[in-house]
């Protein structure tokens, strides 16, 4: 899968106290051709040569107060926010998505699942945008199978904000009809930021990169990020 002739972009995975998908994210990114150092939340700078950042899934700070609310103020997040604001690519998966909404880098908020149950299963997803750094390996209208595992994945935004995001094409990923595991408004599974360089999703692409585990569709999302990181790294050099 990895073309050893291609440059390996540096895509750090941030580790907060309570993160638990960081090693899977690291392994998946490495398998797709990136160098993915794990970066502890107390770091104040990102590794040299960083061309994208991943905020992984987990339960940062025990999900106290609101999911992601406390992680948002970690020292490393100042660097991540500055990186995002200067156009850097940032991907938030599950708890990472919650952190990005709390940090106001992504619109909306994530609330407890409508069922109040923790949901852990494969879901079918509909790709709404393929012209983003996170979905370029997908095809328009393609259905992906990627697992979710969360208790607070019910994305919420009011009608006005949803209309704005729809008009702006920021809703990049939805649960397929009848597949929503959490009651999210508009079946939203993943949202892209206003400037197209920040993306958050509740499903876990890092858990779907090996056929042995049922699906490799997650590799399309993470592979898209590796491609984009590689070209942004080339642009920097």
């Amino acid at each position: 899968m990895t073309d050893s002739a291609l440059p390996r972009p540096v895509i750090p995975v941030v580790v907060f106290p309570g993160s638990n998908d960081d090693r899977d994210a690291q392994l998946a990114l490495a398998g797709l051709g990136a160098v993915a150092p794990r970066v502890w939340h107390t770091e104040e700078v990102l590794p040299r040569g960083t061309s994208a950042v991943v905020l992984p899934g987990g339960f940062s700070y025990g999900d106290y107060l609101r999911c992601g609310a406390i992680a948002r103020f970690s020292p490393v997040m100042r660097a991540v926010i500055a990186f995002a604001e200067s156009g850097g690519l940032v991907l938030g998966i599950c708890n990472g998505f919650q952190i990005l909404t709390e940090a106001r880098l992504l619109p909306g908020a994530l609330r407890p699942n409508a069922s109040l149950s923790f949901v852990c299963r494969d879901v079918a997803l509909s790709v709404e945008r393929t012209d983003t750094p996170f979905t370029s390996r997908c095809t328009e209208g393609e259905t992906l199978t990627i697992p979710v595992k969360h208790g607070d994945g019910c994305w919420f935004a009011d009608d006005e904000l949803v209309a704005h995001l729809e008009a702006n094409g920021q809703i990049a990923l939805r649960y397929a009809a009848g597949e929503s595991p959490n009651g999210a408004v508009g079946d939203v599974a993943g949202v892209i930021g206003e400037h197209g360089n920040v993306f958050g999703l509740m499903p876990h692409p890092e858990h779907a990169v090996d056929a042995l585990l049922g699906s490799t569709d997650g590799g399309l999302i993470l592979g898209s990020l590796v491609d984009a990181a590689r070209s942004s790294a080339a642009a920097v050099v």
Binding site: L65, A69, A109, R111, P112, A114, L116, F156, D158
Partner: protein, 84 residues
């Protein structure tokens, strides 16, 4: 000064926890139209200046204690509600 911050899900926001409590109360035979579940944070502030305390509490709410998109808050100082 002792302060209490009451955080509520805004009207119209789906509150599955409130719904579960509501249905449980009905099962117990109580007549309930609606139940909503919020959060209470007690804060002890090292100041006796009421205006300063209120200003600080508002900043705490905006930065951390609430997510303004989905939650509203009310403040109490020494047991009495803070109005506007």
């Amino acid at each position: 000064m002792k302060a209490t911050v009451l955080v509520r899900p805004k009207p119209g926001i789906l509150d599955p926890q409130g719904q579960a409590v509501e249905s449980s109360l009905r099962h117990l035979g109580f007549s309930v139209d609606e139940a909503r579940v919020g959060r209470l944070v007690d804060v002890d502030l090292p100041t006796d200046d009421r205006a300063d305390a209120i200003a600080q509490l508002k900043r705490m709410c905006e930065q951390l204690l609430t997510n303004p998109l989905i939650e509203s808050y009310e403040l109490e100082l020494d047991g009495a509600p803070v109005t506007a």
